[in-house]
């Protein structure tokens, strides 16, 4: 070993390769371990992801950005973050006392904005996606008040839609943060949702909404409205309703992940 004070990462080798991947390649070594800088960079990325998971959802932030839309705030049956993380079943159910806040009517579509695993993603992107999508819907479609849901899982949308009597539901939810993206928003469309009956296979999903690096609001809105029209024609969403987004994997290919995981 030389006694260099600081590991100099070989740029001639690694710089050209870094154009092709965000993977943390060519980090150099301090003995067998990572150099200090890279260790701290990893910790910074992890801290951002942890904070995204644990920062409280502030519905007023989203409501403020949705001026002109009426909004309703509800909670899931999960009373706090700790419970939420361990009891996905509670995150899928409306809080008993909040059900009556939802006005039943013949709504064509309901938007549910839920914190999921990243309140940051929701604060930064959800209102813009609701606005962009609603702007593309036909004027005759009846859009329910936007529901802002705390401690929400994707399937909470089924319970909300039942309470509202909505024909379909769009759930905008914070995705599981990775080390390179802690603010990624997911959108799940479900036609004729039924709590406890509807499964993930009955939904269509758009992932990684986070401009400028991920999907743009307008692109997400265009894909969503196109799916919504076809869902109405077919009377269903899910695996039988393909969109032109990335190919997805059949079950059992990659890994079994937690709900909200960006896994096959």
């Amino acid at each position: 070993m030389t006694d260099r004070q600081l590991t100099v990462v070989d740029s001639a080798l690694w710089t050209p390769l870094r154009r092709h991947t965000q993977a943390r390649i060519g980090l150099g070594r301090a003995g067998a371990a990572l150099p200090t800088r890279h260790r701290l960079e990893l910790q910074a990325a992890h801290a951002a992801a942890r904070d995204a998971v644990h920062s409280p959802f502030e519905p007023e932030v989203v409501a403020g950005a949705l001026a002109g839309f009426s909004t309703v705030r509800v909670r899931s049956a999960a009373p706090d973050r700790l419970t939420y993380l361990q009891r996905p079943d509670l995150g899928r159910r409306l809080h008993d006392t909040d059900r009556c806040l939802l006005p039943p009517d013949a709504w064509d579509v309901a938007f549910v904005v839920g914190d999921g695993l990243s309140s940051r993603a929701v604060h930064e992107h959800a209102a813009a996606v609701v606005r962009a999508t609603a702007a593309l819907l036909p004027a005759k479609w009846r859009v329910a008040p936007v529901v802002l849901a705390e401690q929400a899982r994707v399937a909470l949308g089924d319970d909300v839609a039942r309470a509202l009597g909505a024909a379909m539901v769009v759930v905008l939810i914070g995705e599981r943060p990775g080390m390179s993206a802690a603010d990624s928003l997911g959108a799940y469309l479900t036609y004729a949702p039924e709590p406890g009956v509807t499964t993930d296979a009955d939904r269509n999903c758009l992932s990684n909404i986070r401009p400028p690096l991920g999907l743009a609001y307008e692109t997400a809105a265009a894909k969503l409205t196109s799916l919504m029209h076809r869902a109405r024609e077919l009377g269903r969403t899910g695996v039988s309703l393909k969109d032109d987004s990335d190919g997805s994997l059949p079950p059992g290919t990659g890994r079994v992940g937690a709900e909200g995981a960006k896994t096959p």
Partner: protein
Amino acid sequence: MTTYTAVLAGRSHSFAGLAALLAAASPERSGDRLAGLAADSAQARVAARWALAEVPLSRFLAEPVIPYEDDDVTRLIVDTHDAVAFAPVAGMTVGGFREWLLSGAADAAALAALAPGLTPEMVAAVSKLMGNADLVAVARKVRVVTAFRSTIGLPGRLATRLQPNHPTDDPAGVAAALLDGLLLGSGDAVIGINPATDSPKAVRDLLELLDGVIQRYAIPTQSCVLCHVTTSIDLMERGAPVDLVFQSIAGTQAANASFGVTLGLLDEAYEAARGLGRGTVGSNALYFETGQGSALSADAHHGVDQQTVEARAYAVARRYDPLLVNTVVGFIGPEYLYDGRQILRAALEDHFCGKLLGLPMGLDICYTNHADADDDDIATMLTMLGVAGASFVICTPGGDDIMLNYQSASYHDALYLREVLGLRPAPEFEEWLGRIGLLDDGGGIRDVTGTGHPLTAIGQGVAAA
């Protein structure tokens, strides 16, 4: 149904059936609580362990936790049980079996001979009576050696899966991460990619990329693109360079069905893989991943706790003489394993149970960002599993998988483990590392810089394309 009872601190606790007893005896974890199977209290958990300690091992043959007629994994376990191999422990209780495993009588030869006589439920049961140190002490005595182009599981060796994932399967991105891993001495267990799409063409492109590198540098290792088994069967028929056939598996028929897998399909894959004869030093050609919680996630656990169901997946694995099996222990999320402590416990249990059942057990020592865990938990798990004699661990660049969005061990972590425990790569791979000029005088991995090393052409060729 037999009721099992124990009196603790003047209070009688009863458990309706073996599955309920096993679940109540299990160390605390969020998944069992979610399933409604966990012990009601800390004292009830210990009472369950008292009751479990007195259960004869033979009872597990008489009372399957999932009925024989309902589940093909149960049928596999019962129908392939080797009574002759079981004979030395046939008279023991679970508590007595723990003491025997920890004793000098249970040496490598005795444990190897015993493996076909043990069922997943027996090893799960005894693990519930063991502390973390017990799980290390017994597992390190077990030797399971498998081979394809490298030999896995020899004493004093630790192999690594090099995992160069990329979110869009970009060949240049994969090649860059592959080069990084090879220069840090990883890749002797397998170079294995989780593909972003499962299309036969995408998988074939990746297989050809990996096969090209392996051939060009004569690397004594094997490649695997972790696609669905049906895709592999299809690709083998079309002559693609498939080394190892991969599949995620679970411990019940219904959970496997949720993966689109049946035992019949695995039988077919096994025959096809064996027929290719691509191995040089051995013919173990299957690769399985498992993980606690998958059956619950698929609503297919039949009221059996997640650790016992996980052990049942190993009965499926051992039918196919795999080269590699690993639990993806911390990937599933905090509703199954809440924090670093629960993930560590599960890692030790899975490794112990897999090894006792005769599997070449490795681990993906990992966590997700919504679990209460961090890189110090990785270090703890790595060290304990290294001491326990894990066959291999999975490594990614910097420990950050940019495709699956989770943190695993890094290539550096494998260097650490080899250094502090005096472990070495698989012998064939170690010899290759020497040939290609990556070993220093002490047998460690040289710190390669610059573009002069021949392997760096892997990156340059692709980057220029």
